[in-house]
């Protein structure tokens, strides 16, 4: 569809940003009911492995495998959601983290899916970008509707005071399970898309750092509005590219201008700094998180800032 427009690099970049965005929404939905999960990478792994088994071992078409992957992750999500109902805060973080580790250990020791060798030669899906765009569109529609619905409001109330919500007749148990299960399902879709784009994965592909990254997308973008996760994913995927571009501009400066002390030292430092490989990205995430907690604890986008921007958030008829 975009063959003429995008080179392979940009296309891949958009795909990963899109998968991150879908994963960010998978975190956002349970978060809307006050459940903070550090296991979203685990649910991505379930979706990825389930769909890859179907396409590789049974020759089932990708579209069907994608749906089954999402459903499988959703079912496991509801199973994890039951114990998650009873615990909060740091204990829920540990539970979801533990779950994610279990998934990774199973992937490591299960020879059927490659074990330590990793799951190889997953069939490549040439239309990943199109799938990603469609799924994001559906998610945005879903969350836009949810935001202005009674169910969405009920979720917000659970986030703010679970006991009061329960006493006011909100079915906290079912709504939290629904949010956790649907969130896991969305993560499963992201995982399935990833597997059939990367064509290889092993037990470390969906690790704890990925779960942390997903959390950071939402915290940075803003967890109080459905635009937040998308915004966070876009910003944090764009920053490394932006720095890469800066580095390329830096290289355009003639050598004669910089090749003397102390300018050469500054130049070398900047050059090294902008060389944005993975380890530095994670350090940068840590720094960004700390700065966010200090200056904008509610994220870049909040309900109030959206109201000022007048982004689509239709008003009540009685206003």
């Amino acid at each position: 569809m975009f063959d003429g427009l995008l080179d392979g690099y940009t296309r891949s970049l958009l795909i990963f940003a899109g998968i991150h965005m879908i994963a960010a929404y998978s975190f956002y939905l349970p978060y809307k009911t006050g459940q903070v999960s550090l296991g979203q990478a685990g649910f991505m792994a379930i979706g990825a492995y389930a769909s890859a088994i179907l396409t590789q071992k049974f020759g089932i078409p990708f579209a069907a495998a994608l749906i089954v992957g999402g459903i499988a992750a959703g079912i496991i999500g509801i199973a994890i959601g039951f114990p998650a109902l009873r615990i909060k805060g740091i204990y829920l973080l540990l539970l979801t983290l533990g779950f994610s580790e279990i998934v990774s250990v199973v992937a490591l020791s299960w020879e059927y899916v490659g074990g330590a060798q990793g799951f190889r030669q997953i069939s490549f899906n040439p239309f990943t970008l199109e799938y990603v765009i469609v799924i994001i569109a559906v998610l945005l529609f879903f969350f836009a509707r949810l935001e202005r619905s009674s169910l969405g409001r009920a979720m917000d109330s659970i986030h703010q005071d679970e006991t009061a919500a329960e006493v006011m007749g909100i079915d906290v148990v079912r709504i939290k399970l629904l949010a956790f299960g649907l969130g896991a399902g969305i993560a499963g879709l992201a995982g399935a898309l990833y597997a059939h784009h990367a064509t290889f994965m092993d037990s470390t592909t969906f690790n704890i750092m990925l779960s942390v990254e997903i959390l950071v997308f939402v915290v940075v973008g803003g967890g109080s509005t459905y635009w937040g996760p998308a915004f966070g994913a876009v910003v944090l995927n764009a920053i490394p590219e932006f720095l890469r571009a800066l580095r390329e501009w830096l290289e355009l400066i003639p050598v004669a201008w910089t090749n003397f002390y102390p300018v050469n030292r500054v130049y070398d430092f900047l050059h090294g700094f902008l060389d944005f490989e993975n380890a530095k990205r994670l350090i940068a995430y840590g720094v960004i998180l700390i700065l966010m907690m200090i200056f904008r604890p509610d994220g870049l986008l909040t309900r109030d800032s959206l109201r000022r921007l007048r982004l689509p958030r239709w008003k009540s008829r009685h206003a």
């Binding site: 329960e166 007749g169 239709w314």
Partner: protein, 267 residues
């Protein structure tokens, strides 16, 4: 000592007990609340009044005892089920949702009647034309506005709940509880922190709610309010019922006066 006109009993409590370790917060409480009455529950601090509300609404499980509401034994583990059956409450320490507006807060109360099933609520949220509110949603808005007008909060419907002054937050809690369409309303110190003008307004509101046919159990320290509007008064001390009767009987009861002795309360 069962009331002979049992058909008019809205709520019947038998042997209700709650222990925290060795401390009896509520000990073998028996109590009948008449349909359509304002039944006050008074007693010194720590007498077990709020515990009683927590047991009634299911926030805490009872150790022993039976709660019969409208002829049915109430044994649901979850508070939301009891709310659906028609028991609503307000909280002593106000528990509003700080980031919701006044209007949204009331609509939370309406949610359980409008969308008792989560799946249908999901359908109502998603399977609608984009950028348009569902019929159920519009009905909820209309009802919410009606309720806010009833309580004199309509002008503040788009303000954040946490931005309201204290007295209005109490009224909003009342509105949220009424939005669940209760048949039994538990008010936990609704006049706390209110000035005399607000208290007399509350007096009128509670009476009007009662006149709608809603039975009310009122926990309150403002004795002027209690004695003025209650049909029946039960006095608790250390988790045990020490007196019950009309406001007049209670005011003259030597046991009650002794329980309150040393406290700055004008009976």
């Amino acid at each position: 000592m069962r009331d002979p006109a049992a058909s008019h009993v809205c709520l019947s409590i038998e042997g209700l007990t709650k222990r925290f370790g060795g401390f009896y917060a509520l000990n073998q409480l028996n109590m009948d609340v008449q349909q359509g009455h304002i039944h006050a529950l008074i007693g010194p601090n720590g007498a077990g009044k709020t515990t009683f509300f927590n047991l009634l609404t299911g926030v805490l499980p009872a150790d022993t005892g039976k709660i019969v509401f409208d002829g049915q034994i109430v044994d649901d583990a979850r508070p939301s089920r009891r709310t659906l059956k028609g028991i609503a409450r307000t909280f002593q320490n106000i528990r509003l949702f700080p980031h919701l507006t006044v209007m949204e807060t009331v609509m939370i109360g309406e949610h359980c009647r409008a969308h008792p099933s989560v799946w249908k609520a999901l359908g109502d949220a998603v399977l609608k034309r984009p950028f348009q509110e569902s019929v159920a949603e519009r009905e909820m808005q209309t009802n919410a506005i009606e309720l806010l007008e009833y309580l004199g909060l309509a002008g503040k419907r788009d303000e954040k709940a946490s931005d309201l002054p204290y007295g209005e937050q109490r009224k909003l809690e009342l509105a949220r509880a009424l939005a669940t369409k209760p048949r039994l309303l538990l008010l936990d110190e609704p006049a706390a922190g209110m000035n005399p003008r607000e208290t007399s307004e509350l007096d009128r509101i509670i009476t009007r709610v009662r006149d709608r046919g809603i039975t009310i159990i009122l926990v309150e320290h403002d004795m002027k309010l209690v004695m003025g509007i209650s049909d029946n008064v039960t006095v608790l001390n250390f988790g045990t019922k020490i007196a019950e009767g009309s406001p007049r009987q209670i005011q003259d009861d030597p046991v009650v006066i002794e329980a309150y002795l040393g406290e700055d309360v004008q009976l």
